[in-house]
Subunit: 192 residues, 2 copies
C-alpha cells in the first residue's frame, strides 16, 4: 500500500537492533485518516475470508483492527495483557515474548467473545517474529474457533514470522500492507 | 446519544461497587459501527473548540479517540502506561490511580507529540472520578499546551469527576454521550 510505505519512509525512524519507530503515526500518535485507509485496504484483501470476528492484541493492534472491523462490519476483540476486574474467572490465556518490551506478556481473552466454530481474522500493527500473533493463534485454537487470516500493517519479512505462521497452517492467507525486506542504517527496502 | 444509551441498557452489566461492565462493545470487544457513530457525535459537539490534537489514555480510550479524530481530522495521541523502547529518555509523566485496576498507573507522553501552544481535546471511554483524565490534564499543563475540552462516552455523574475537573478550569467544555445519574442493582438512570 503506497500511502503507508510513503509515510514509513518519510516519518519512520530506524533505531537499530531491528526496531522501526513509527510512534508518529501508529504506535503513540495515530493518524486516523491513514488508519482508516489501512483498514479499508485490509478489509478489501480479506473480503472473501468469511470472518465472523476480528481478534487483535492491545495496545497498538486496536487502531488497525478497529478500522478493518468498521469496513468489514465485524466486532473487534482485543486480547488484554492484564486481566481487568470485569473479566470472568475462567479465561483463555497464553504467554508471548514481546520484543519491544523485552519481557513475556500475557494475552487474555474472555470466552464470552471467542467461541467455538467462529471464523477469526487476526489483525495487528506489526508482523515481525510472529510471536504475538502466534499467541493469538493459540487463543483461537484453544477456543475451538477457526483461524481464517492474518493481516498486519507492517511486516518485517526477514524476522521470519510469516514463514513460521505459514508452516503452522498451510494455505493460510497472510497479508501485510508494507512488507520490509531489508532494514539497516542505510535505509529500508520494501517488497515489490 | 440514544444509540449508546440503548446499548448500555441492553448489553451493559452492573457488577456492583460502582463497576459498569461494557466489555461486549467498548472495553474488550469493540463495536466499530457504534464507535464510529460516537466519534461522529463527539466531533460534532466539539466542532468549535479549535482543537489541534486529541489526547487519550491507553487502552480503552483509543477507540473513541481514534473515531473522533477521524471526524475532526486531527492526530490522536495516546498516553502510554509503560514506556516503550522507542520513546526518548525525557518524557512527560504523571501518576494516576486506576479504580478498575486497583493500583496507580503511569501516564507517559513523548514531548514529540505534545507541544507548547497546542490546543488539546481529551477523549476517553469513561468519565467517573476523573482521576485518569486529571492525569492527562496535568500532562497538557506541563507541556505548556492548552486544554480546550473533555469528552467521554460514558459518564458516572455521581462519582464527581465533572465537578472536580470543572472546578480546575472554569468554563471548560465537558461532554459525555451517556450520563449515568444513578446505578445500582435495580438498574441505571440516565440524565435527560
Amino acid at each position: 500500500m503506497e500511502l503507508l510505505k510513503k509515510r514509513i519512509l518519510e516519518a519512520g525512524q530506524y533505531l537499530g537492533k531491528g526496531i522501526l519507530k513509527v510512534d508518529g503515526f501508529i504506535n503513540h500518535q495515530v493518524d486516523p485518516q491513514l488508519m482508516d485507509q489501512c483498514g479499508k485496504e485490509l478489509a478489501e484483501l480479506f473480503k472473501d475470508c468469511g470472518a465472523t470476528r476480528i481478534l487483535t492484541a492491545e495496545i497498538s493492534g486496536i487502531a488497525p483492527a478497529l478500522m478493518t472491523g468498521k469496513y468489514m462490519n465485524l466486532p473487534v476483540v482485543y486480547a488484554r495483557k492484564h486481566k481487568p476486574i470485569t473479566m470472568p474467572d475462567q479465561v483463555f490465556l497464553t504467554l508471548a515474548p514481546s520484543h519491544t518490551k523485552g519481557r513475556t506478556v500475557e494475552l487474555i481473552v474472555s470466552p464470552e467473545y471467542l467461541k467455538a466454530g467462529e471464523r477469526i481474522l487476526i489483525i495487528d500493527d506489526f508482523l515481525a517474529s510472529g510471536a504475538t500473533i502466534a499467541g493469538l493463534v493459540r487463543l483461537v485454537n484453544v477456543a475451538g474457533a477457526e483461524l481464517v487470516g492474518i493481516g498486519a500493517l507492517i511486516e518485517k519479512l526477514f524476522e521470519g514470522g510469516r514463514a513460521m505462521l505459514s508452516a503452522q497452517q498451510a494455505g493460510l492467507q497472510i497479508e501485510s500492507l508494507a512488507c520490509i525486506t531489508k532494514m539497516d542504517d542505510s535505509g529500508l527496502e520494501f517488497q515489490d
